[in-house]
């Protein structure tokens, strides 16, 4: 569970950083003569964004169900009543 949360957090961070870099690169391409620099930043942002999306935790509705089975002790007095 902790690993899942860490992965989800890392994915979220990459998505946010990717969006930031992508938009920054787009701005530089659009508004400045530094086309190469802007394109490089834009592509780096796109790469981060894609990696972040791949690390995304699936939404609860689509996530595979995990069932935790508790150890059961059979009590002869309660067996049959439960």
């Amino acid at each position: 569970m902790a690993d899942s949360d860490t992965t989800a957090q890392a994915g979220k961070g990459k998505r946010v950083a990717g969006t930031f870099l992508l938009m920054l690169g787009a701005g530089i391409v659009l508004e400045s003569p530094l086309q190469g620099v802007g394109s490089a930043i834009l592509l780096a942002g796109a790469a981060f964004l894609v990696r972040g999306l791949l690390n995304a935790r699936p939404h609860a509705a689509h996530a595979p169900a995990t069932v935790q089975v508790a150890p059961v002790s059979i009590d002869p007095q309660t067996e049959g009543r439960l």
Binding site: G13, V16, A26, G27, L30, E31, Q35
Partner: protein
């Protein structure tokens, strides 16, 4: 803007708008799925506590990185100041989209530094004082860049008026707290100002490429509308705070 054709500009602006639309749609979905009450943050009329909490949840990985890498709140404040100088340079050169995006980034640094200070028990009186000074410089420097861009137009006056209003909004609170009053009201506090100016210049720059001037033949019409609205609302906020403090102080004698 003669480094590429206007057709490229238009197509690229449409592509950016499409990306923003998709990102906004996905973000609205994640905001709705967010557990309510996940983050205890204050809100205002313009930016409610829900949206602030959602934004801070998205910043959580960067807070963790700052804590893990021992990046102090003071370093974040200094980064905010440097970022504001870059924002001003972008605005002054007419790079309003890039400047607006970086303005949102510097505003985010301002949010993160306080949260990192609380998490690392690094809050101190000196840190809070330095943060306040840097905030005032950062606010003013960004708007000075915009004033430099509009220096040959009447728009320079609303920009300077907005800058003045922003300083008075902050001063009113500081003075009120010095007199023992609490002043946390206000229509446009700093985060709201960052959001309005940041997104205003981003969409204004894209709009300029797609539609050209559409208000009285003025270039960057949307940006101008945003600046005028900001100037009015910020000064209204200053008056709102002054009235609030005036009432809360009552007839108390000074000294």
């Amino acid at each position: 803007m003669d480094h590429h054709s206007s057709t490229f500009d238009e197509a690229f602006a449409v592509a950016i708008l499409a990306f923003i639309a998709v990102t906004a749609t996905v973000s609205i979905g994640s905001y709705r799925r967010r557990a309510t009450g996940a983050a205890d943050v204050g809100g205002s009329l313009v930016l409610g506590s829900g949206i602030r909490g959602w934004y801070m949840e998205n910043l959580r990985p960067f807070e963790d990185l700052c804590v893990q890498w021992h990046i102090s709140p003071t370093m974040l404040s200094c980064a905010q100041l440097v970022g504001s100088i870059v924002v001003a340079a972008c605005y002054a050169r007419g790079m309003l989209f890039t400047g607006g995006w970086l303005l949102l980034f510097t505003g985010t640094l301002d949010i993160i530094d306080g949260r990192v200070a609380r998490r690392t028990n690094g809050s101190s009186l000196r840190g809070a004082f330095l943060d306040s000074i840097i905030d005032r410089y950062a606010d003013s420097i960004s708007l000075l860049g915009l004033a430099a861009f509009f220096r040959d137009s009447w728009v320079v006056w609303p920009v300077l008026f907005a800058m003045l209003g922003g300083l008075i909004v902050s001063y009113t609170r500081a003075r009120a707290e010095g007199l023992g009053a609490v002043c946390r009201v206000g229509l446009l506090q700093r985060p709201e100002r960052y959001v309005i100016l940041g997104f205003g210049t981003i969409f204004g720059a894209l709009c300029e490429r797609l539609t050209g001037p559409w208000v009285a033949g003025q270039h960057y019409s949307m940006v101008i509308l945003v600046i005028v609205a900001l100037a009015l609302l910020v000064n209204l906020t200053a008056i709102q705070r002054a009235v609030h403090v005036w009432r809360s102080l009552g007839n108390g004698q000074h000294g």
